[in-house]
Structure formats: structure tokens, C-alpha cells
């Protein structure tokens, strides 16, 4: 093996910077899952009766289902009885009314993540909802949002305060029968964010949720529901981290987006769950269902994701383009290192006339990691003049990793135009040497080349997030050249 291949291999030995554990007193359910756990969960959350029914129905359906096996990932079967389905920091009876009432340890934990909730509220102009294990601990900027008519709150709160919206929209994009993990989520989800933007309102600030799994042996099942009513606009950011633990932890989230006529939703994710150590021990199993329904004419949903974390990622943010002239976009960077596995991509379902979709996927694999793009473009008979453009690029760092591409195309409407382009490239030793000969360290060179590769996706991210994403890619490759 030549020197620079060796260097690349060394660079890959990164350290995870968010791996701290916060010591807190918690209320945690004993591990195990049956109907009584769901009753208990619904009760502790003080949910309306219809929610309990919803959960039980989902649970019963889940029990008839099998864990999916088609994805290009390998893992031992998950023992769902060894997971605890609820963990919440202990706190005053009715929960925090303001940030002053939040446990200082939690605030400290968010500070370490670079998300100082208190300052964020005052300075940054981004409204933040922070979900710690199973509960939402803080939502900032509530006042200002309320003035605009925007509802941004923990979904557990929305269940109590806006049951009519929940009844109408929850499960309307991802039904409980959709897939194994979505059914499980519907049965046991604990918290997440709820957003409603009323007709004609442009949300006055970016909305953002930070998820953190802290407790051991717990799963995180969050549920996000965003409804953009006619002519409204919203940009939503999601970030996630977890401590370093030797055992695998399950994260099975569901995100539903509904865009009505002329509405625009931009959903950006920087996912940095703990990926496991360099030998593949521990890490989060990130099995997520994200789907948007472009329900109204001329609506638009744009997914942008930067995925650097998790031991296994199984995730296909999708758009159902129901409304005529509606637009779906998917911009993705997925980086896998060491023993990480990612099977990710998107589905674009064209139903309405003149619907358009764009897919730009950038997969980077380093170390011994596997990275798979899996995408479906489906054009139904009704979707006259539908158009799709897909570009799918893979970059290999080192010589022990893999990249795979599975594009599925189903077209039932002859006027549709579907384009697909795919490339695979490698960071060559000549490129590395060239950069080093210009004075850059091998690490900086890899990071620069990777960032260049991802440029088209990064430019879709909101400014602060783009900076964070670039830094994260650098960190995730740290140690792979030495």
C-alpha cells in the first residue's frame, strides 16, 4: 500500500465530538413493549382518547408486519422488548413555562452542542424546539410566532391544544400501515415538533428543532408534522446528535409535510447521530420515514439533507406531487466512514399535471463504509408533461469502501421526461499529491475535495447550516489522513 492510501486510511479515524452523556434524573419506563405500555404512554402524555385509539391500531398492525430486508444494509435483528419507550428528564409538575425553569444540565448539554437556547432566543432569530430523549424541553420565540399566527410547538402539546388539526393531518401523508418503522413510530412516538403556517403567511423566521438521545437503552421515536396552508412559506431546520454508547440505539422517526395550494416548504436536515466507533461498535440505527404531500396546485417542497452520522441510515425523504404544477426537490449529501452504512435516496411520485422533480444526490464513502443511493421516480398516467431530473454522484475515499446506485423508474404517462445521470469517482493519489504540493495538508485536501464535490447541495442549505455542514464533513473525515 502506498503512503497516501495509508494516509487516507488514517484520516478516517475521526472522533465524535458530541459524544458526552448528561447525568440527569429521569422518569424512564422499564424496557418492553405491549399494549399496556402504550396505555401508559398515552396517559403520561395526557392525550385525548382518539390518540390512544390511533396508537393501538398502529401497534396491532405493526405486530403483523416484518422488518424490511430489501435495503442494502446489514444488522442483527433488533430486540424490541429490550428498549425503553419513554424517558424524560424529571421536572416540575407542569413542565417549564420559560427557559429559567429548564434543568440547567439540559441547557448545558445544548450549549455543548453549540445550541445555547437562551441566547438563541435573544440573538439568533431562529426559533428552536429542543427534544431531549422523549420530550420537548424548550421552544423559543413562541410569542413572536404567535403574533404571525404560526403554531410551532411540541407535538405532544398540539395533541392537546389543536386536536382538530392533528385529527385531520396526522397520518394523512404517512399512514400507520405504510411501513414497519412508521407503524412502530405511530404506536409509540413520544414527541417532536408541530408546525402550522396559516394561509398567506410567510413564517417570519427559520424554525429549527434539535433532537438529542441522551438516556441509555431508549429508543427515540419522534414525530414531526408540518402543515403549510395556502400560499404560505416556511423553512425548517432539523439537527440531531447522541452520546457515544457501545450498544446500538434505535431512532425511528416519521416526518410528514403537507403543502397546500401555492405553499412552499423547505426542510433541511443536518443529521449527526453517533455513528459508532471506528471498529463499528455502537451507534444509532436511523430508520426514518419522511414524506411530503404537495397537495395543492403550484405547491413546492424541497428536502435538503446532510447525513454524516448514524451506524445505519435508512431514509428516503419523498414527495407525492398531487397538485398540478407542483414541484419536489431532493438535495442530499450522505457521508459514511469506518463501518457506517447508509441506504438513502428519495421517491418522487408524479400524480398531477406538469409536476416537476429534481434529485441531486452526493454519496461519499470512506473507510470500510457502504453508501447506497436508492431512488424511485414514478409517473402516473394522470401526470401529463411530468418532468424529472436525477443526478447521482458517488465519491470514494480510500479503497475499501463501496458505493451503490439503485434508480427505479416507472413511467405510465408517455409525455413524461425523465433524465438520469450518475457518476462514480475516487479521490486519487494524484489529486492529493497535487494539493499537498501546493502546501495543503492531506486532511485539508480531502476536506476541500469533498466539499467541492458537495457544493451543489450545500448551496441549497440556509447560510448558518451550510457552514455547520462543511465543518461537520471536515470533522467526519478527520483522522483519515495522518
Amino acid at each position: 500500500m502506498s503512503a497516501s492510501t495509508q494516509e487516507i486510511n488514517n484520516l478516517i479515524n475521526q472522533e465524535y465530538k458530541q459524544g458526552f452523556v448528561t447525568e440527569l434524573e429521569t422518569n424512564t419506563f422499564l424496557p418492553g413493549l405491549d399494549e399496556s405500555v402504550i396505555h401508559k404512554l398515552s396517559k403520561i402524555k395526557n392525550e385525548p382518547e382518539f390518540m390512544l385509539e390511533y396508537r393501538l391500531k398502529a401497534f396491532r398492525h405493526w405486530q403483523t408486519m416484518k422488518s424490511p430486508e430489501w435495503a442494502f444494509v446489514k444488522f442483527d435483528p433488533i430486540d424490541y422488548q429490550s428498549i425503553s419507550y419513554y424517558s424524560a428528564p424529571k421536572r416540575k409538575e407542569d413542565g417549564p413555562k420559560s427557559l429559567d425553569e429548564i434543568d440547567p444540565q439540559i441547557l448545558e448539554a445544548y450549549k455543548k452542542l453549540g445550541i445555547p437556547l437562551d441566547e438563541q432566543e435573544r440573538l439568533a432569530g431562529v426559533a428552536v424546539d429542543a427534544v431531549f430523549d422523549s420530550v420537548s424541553v424548550a421552544t423559543t420565540f413562541k410569542g413572536k410566532l404567535k403574533d404571525a399566527g404560526v403554531i410551532f410547538c411540541p407535538i405532544s402539546e398540539a395533541l392537546r391544544d389543536h386536536p382538530e388539526l392533528i385529527k385531520e393531518y396526522l397520518g394523512s401523508v404517512v399512514p400507520i400501515t405504510d411501513n414497519y418503522f412508521a407503524a412502530l413510530n405511530a404506536a409509540v412516538f413520544t414527541d417532536g415538533s408541530f408546525v402550522y403556517i396559516p394561509k398567506g403567511v410567510r413564517c417570519p423566521m427559520e424554525l429549527s428543532t434539535y433532537f438529542r438521545i441522551n438516556a441509555a437503552n431508549t429508543g427515540q421515536f419522534e414525530r414531526t408534522l408540518i402543515i403549510a396552508d395556502e400560499g404560505s412559506h416556511v423553512s425548517y431546520l432539523e439537527g440531531c446528535t447522541a452520546p457515544m454508547r457501545d450498544e446500538n440505539q434505535l431512532h425511528a422517526a416519521v416526518v410528514e409535510l403537507v403543502a397546500m395550494k401555492d405553499a412552499v416548504i423547505k426542510y433541511s436536515t443536518v443529521q449527526n447521530w453517533y455513528p459508532g466507533d471506528k471498529n463499528g461498535l455502537g451507534g444509532i440505527y436511523n430508520f426514518v420515514t419522511k414524506r411530503a404531500d404537495c397537495r395543492g396546485a403550484n405547491s413546492k417542497v424541497s428536502w435538503t439533507q446532510v447525513e454524516t452520522g448514524s451506524a445505519i441510515t435508512w431514509k428516503y425523504p419523498s414527495c407525492v406531487l398531487t397538485g398540478d404544477n407542483s414541484v419536489g426537490e431532493f438535495y442530499s449529501v450522505a457521508l459514511t466512514n469506518n463501518y457506517q452504512q447508509a441506504d438513502t435516496g428519495t421517491k418522487m411520485i408524479h400524480i398531477g399535471k406538469n409536476t416537476r422533480s429534481t434529485i441531486v444526490s452526493k454519496g461519499i464513502s470512506a473507510g470500510k463504509a457502504q453508501n447506497t443511493y436508492r431512488g424511485l421516480v414514478k409517473v402516473l398516467k394522470s401526470a401529463e408533461n411530468a418532468r424529472n431530473y436525477t443526478q447521482c454522484d458517488s465519491l470514494l475515499v480510500g479503497d475499501q469502501c463501496g458505493a451503490h446506485t439503485f434508480p427505479y423508474i416507472e413511467v405510465k404517462q408517455p409525455s413524461a421526461q425523465v433524465e438520469h445521470e450518475a457518476t462514480t469517482s475516487k479521490i486519487s493519489e494524484d489529486q492529493l499529491f497535487f494539493c499537498q504540493q501546493r502546501g495543503l495538508s492531506a486532511e485539508d485536501a480531502v476536506s476541500m475535495i469533498v466539499n467541492g464535490f458537495c457544493k451543489e447541495v450545500f448551496k441549497e442549505l440556509p447560510m448558518e447550516f451550510a457552514v455547520e455542514a462543511q465543518a461537520l464533513l471536515g470533522l467526519s473525515l478527520e483522522g483519515s489522513v495522518g
Binding site: Q431, F434, C435, Q437, R438, G439, L440, D444, M448, F453
Partner: protein
């Protein structure tokens, strides 16, 4: 500046350089000529730190330091620059971004502060004009889709901005049209200074009409078989290399 003593280099088991001796003083220009496959690029690579070669004997000392011990990026920061025979493409990374990152890493090594964005642009645009390039090249990805000649010119642009001490030009003239050769040569000449040295690998006397070397060396089969002044290049142009190889064989 650079002192190479009895340098032997192999790739795997195959010896390529077989005892090179070369002394380069500050301000000097040395031209290296020789048949294809004689080891000229190998010499350029070994001096700039490319991996994949084994030094089996000998030494190279640069400004009093053991050059062969230094990692490639340290050599670059200490002022060794290689203009590649075959420059690589780096998709997605703009020329101007690479130049700034390179310049700053060199400045940092030399204890200087990062270059101010405005000063940097002024500097870069000046050099772009010097080499009669279009400013658009700054914002294109490094060498991506550049023509052969544009890539070569881009190498010299980088050299002009990074201001190295020891400039190694591996066949920079190959692939340049007549006008470009003149422009690039003028660029190189403008960088000549009493404390900057050049090693120019070339096959053609033509380049040496524009950049007059102090010494010309002939590399054949891994050794320097003849050294002389600028006039040696004219002689080679006329007679080719075979008379030297014959002389070597009979010696």
C-alpha cells in the same frame, strides 16, 4: 539552495535514477533534457515528495535541510514548487479557492498572517493579467475542462502567486502554442530573482530561447551524462541524444 548527491531512486525493484549529482545555487536556472523515460519526471517527483518511490542511496539537501525527510506539504511551504507535466483536475473546487488555501497555508508556515481578501484578489488579478489569462479561469474548477495549454498556464499562475524559492517546471512548454509559450516564458522571467532558482525539464531548445539557462544537463538512463552551458542545448537540437548514449556506452 539544492544539493543532490549520488541519488538513487527505484520504483518497486526497478532502479530509475542511478546516481544523480546536481548543485543548484540561488538565482540559477538549470535545464534538464533527455530522452523519454530517462527519469526527468521521476527526479521532479522525488524532489517534491510524491509517494511511491524508494530512495536507495544518496541525499538531497535543500537550504541546509534534508529534503527527502520532509512531507510534501512542508516542502511546498518551505518554497519547493512543482509545475506538473500532467496537472490534475479537481471538480467542484474553484481555482481561486485552492489558491487562497495554498497561499494561506504557506504564509502560516512562514509566520505571516492570513492574506486579506481584498489584497488577495488584487494580487491574483495582477498575476492573471501578467499571464494574459481570462479572469473567468479563477472561478472555474481547478483544471476541469481546461485545454492542455490552459492547464500549463494555470500551473504558472499558481507559481507566480505562491512565489516559491525552488521552481521545478516539468515540460511546461509541451502543449503550449507559440504565443502562449512566449507569454508563459515572460511570466517565468518576471519571477527570476537572485534568491529564486529554477529547474526546467524540457525537450525543446525553443523554450531556452526565451528563458536562458545557466546550465544544461542531459539525463539519460537515470544519470546525468553531460552538463554544459546554454550552447549544449543547441548542440542537442542538432545531433539528438544518441551520440551521448554512444559515448556513455563506450566509456
Amino acid at each position: 539552495m539544492l544539493s543532490i548527491k549520488n541519488l538513487h531512486v527505484s520504483v518497486g525493484d526497478k532502479p530509475i535514477l542511478k546516481g544523480i549529482n546536481l548543485e543548484i545555487k540561488p538565482g540559477e536556472i538549470h535545464a534538464i533534457m533527455g530522452p523519454n523515460g530517462s527519469g526527468k519526471s521521476t527526479l521532479s517527483h522525488i524532489l517534491s515528495g510524491k509517494s511511491g518511490y524508494t530512495v536507495t542511496e544518496g541525499s538531497a539537501t535543500y537550504q541546509g535541510k534534508d529534503l527527502l525527510e520532509m512531507p510534501p506539504e512542508i516542502r511546498a511551504r518551505e518554497g519547493v514548487f512543482l509545475a506538473f507535466q500532467y496537472p490534475v483536475e479537481i471538480p467542484g473546487v474553484s481555482n481561486v479557492y485552492l489558491l487562497k488555501a495554498a497561499l494561506n497555508s504557506i504564509r502560516k508556515h512562514q509566520g505571516q498572517s492570513e492574506v486579506d481578501a481584498m489584497d488577495f484578489l488584487t494580487l491574483v488579478k495582477g498575476k492573471v493579467r501578467l499571464l494574459e489569462m481570462d479572469e473567468k479561469f479563477l472561478y472555474r474548477a481547478v483544471n476541469e475542462g481546461f485545454s492542455g495549454g490552459e492547464k500549463k498556464r494555470n500551473e504558472i499562475l499558481q507559481m507566480a502567486i505562491l512565489e516559491p524559492k525552488l521552481c521545478i517546471l516539468d515540460e511546461t512548454d509541451s502543449g503550449l502554442d507559440i504565443d502562449a509559450l512566449k507569454i508563459v516564458s515572460e511570466g517565468v522571467n518576471s519571477l527570476r530573482s537572485p534568491d529564486r532558482s529554477f529547474v526546467m525539464v524540457t525537450h525543446y531548445q525553443r523554450l531556452l530561447d526565451y528563458i536562458k539557462p545557466d546550465f544544461v544537463h542531459v539525463l539519460a538512463n537515470g544519470q546525468i551524462v553531460k552538463s554544459g552551458g546554454a550552447e549544449l542545448a543547441l548542440e542537442l537540437e542538432e545531433k539528438g541524444y544518441s551520440w551521448l548514449e554512444d559515448a556513455e556506452a563506450s566509456a
